[in-house]
Amino acid sequence: MTRYKLLLIVALSLVCGVAQAQRGFDLGSLLNAGKDVATATTGISEKEEIQIGRELAGRILGQVALVDDANVQAYVNRVGRWIASQSERPDIPWRFGVANALNINAMAMPGGTILITRGLYDLLDNEAQLAGVLGHEIGHVIKKHHISVMQKQALVSAGANLAASRSGNNQIGKFALDKVKEMFLSGLDKDSEYEADAVGVILAARAGYNAFGLAEVLHKLNARAKGDESVAFLFATHPAPSDRLTKLGDLLTPRMSKLPSGIEPEITPVAEGTAAPTRGTAPTAGARSLTNEKPAAAPAANAAPAQKPALDAGGLLQGVKGLFGR
């Protein structure tokens, strides 16, 4: 064991000691935590990454449901999967969803789950712009930006085991979840966002789209007033759109001669009449507390997606398809 790992274990044990005092963890958990710090320094496995991302996505969808338009959801998955297939992680279980929120934002979860709000989706004019947005989020996943933060904190495995040893259930323990929440609320560092932009435009170009779709979306965001509530959280967690545009210009302009022109297919709009969220909407149906509940099974890498949802959603999906005639 390296000196670095030893230091980390000691440091984390001190941190966990505070947590223990606050949350009543026992000495056995702390010892387990010490073991897990070594694991954290060597990396979180792909399986763990997928499980973590899945739980985060499930929690967010517990607050904001998917848009009730099966045609659009399937469309976004086809586009997203095609772009992700051009990345260095083509075989993780990619999932894409449009969440029924009016504000403008998108989120990437570790392990390949990506959610975009309806507010952002409706802002897009063509598929190249969608490719730019999804490419940016895919960039976060393939560069493991969130996982890197978690590993730097060396808390996920340790925190998960601390909580798991106490409750015997969920993948992300309470202690670690607090840190993950903090990360999502404060946002990634600017360099990670710029890197995701750079990766996103290249992935979109590789997939045959106009590489400047993301730049067009950034122009649209830049046009939003600073006091605009719909972009408040996005602006608080990302560099200014004007700065991102400058960086993208610096990246793309010298490479213009080698970039294919790409195409801009039409985007599939959300079907008219699809229910929009209203003020005070309750958490989505099916959301349950994790207390004493087993985590939702995560799909394995390379696994073919389920043809039908595992629950009773198959019938619901058929109903949605019939409703919109698709």
């Binding site: 607050q63 999967r81 170009a205 730049a215 210009g249 793309l252 213009m256 195409i263």
Partner: protein, 169 residues
Amino acid sequence: MTLLRQMLFFAATIVSSALITAGGVAAEPVTFTKDAPLRSEPKFDAKPVAQIKQGTTGDASSKQGPWLNIKTPQASGWALTTDISFGSGGASSGGASMGGLFGPRRQQTSSTNTIGIRGFDKETIGNALGDGGAVSTEQLALLDGYAVDKAGGQEYASGKGLSATTISY
């Protein structure tokens, strides 16, 4: 000419001068954010017709791929989307659809006032990842149901005329 007619003529002149249309798209005021060439065609290897200084304002009337057709006091030509900001004088005043430059106007559900509506915002994400948050297994199952595999993505792309190209980062 009556006063009314004079006023109508004056108003029409103002409107027509404010709109430089290309395919029905209203011109959008833009400001160059860097020194950049205006080119004769929307191609990287097209001949530059002028070198535009940072801060120069103009009107963008149409788009082709990454290129915007821009009229400046100095010259008219094509500049890259990333060379400009929308609006004049630095403040972006373009609408959410950039006057239709980027495509046909679509139904806009996004609202400037989303207070109290659950969204990807600080309060909702905080709740989702906080003590009161809960995993929706039903929504995860829906998400799984919508997923496609690699072959599905390839099939879609082929149908759209999209082909993969090798490009390094």
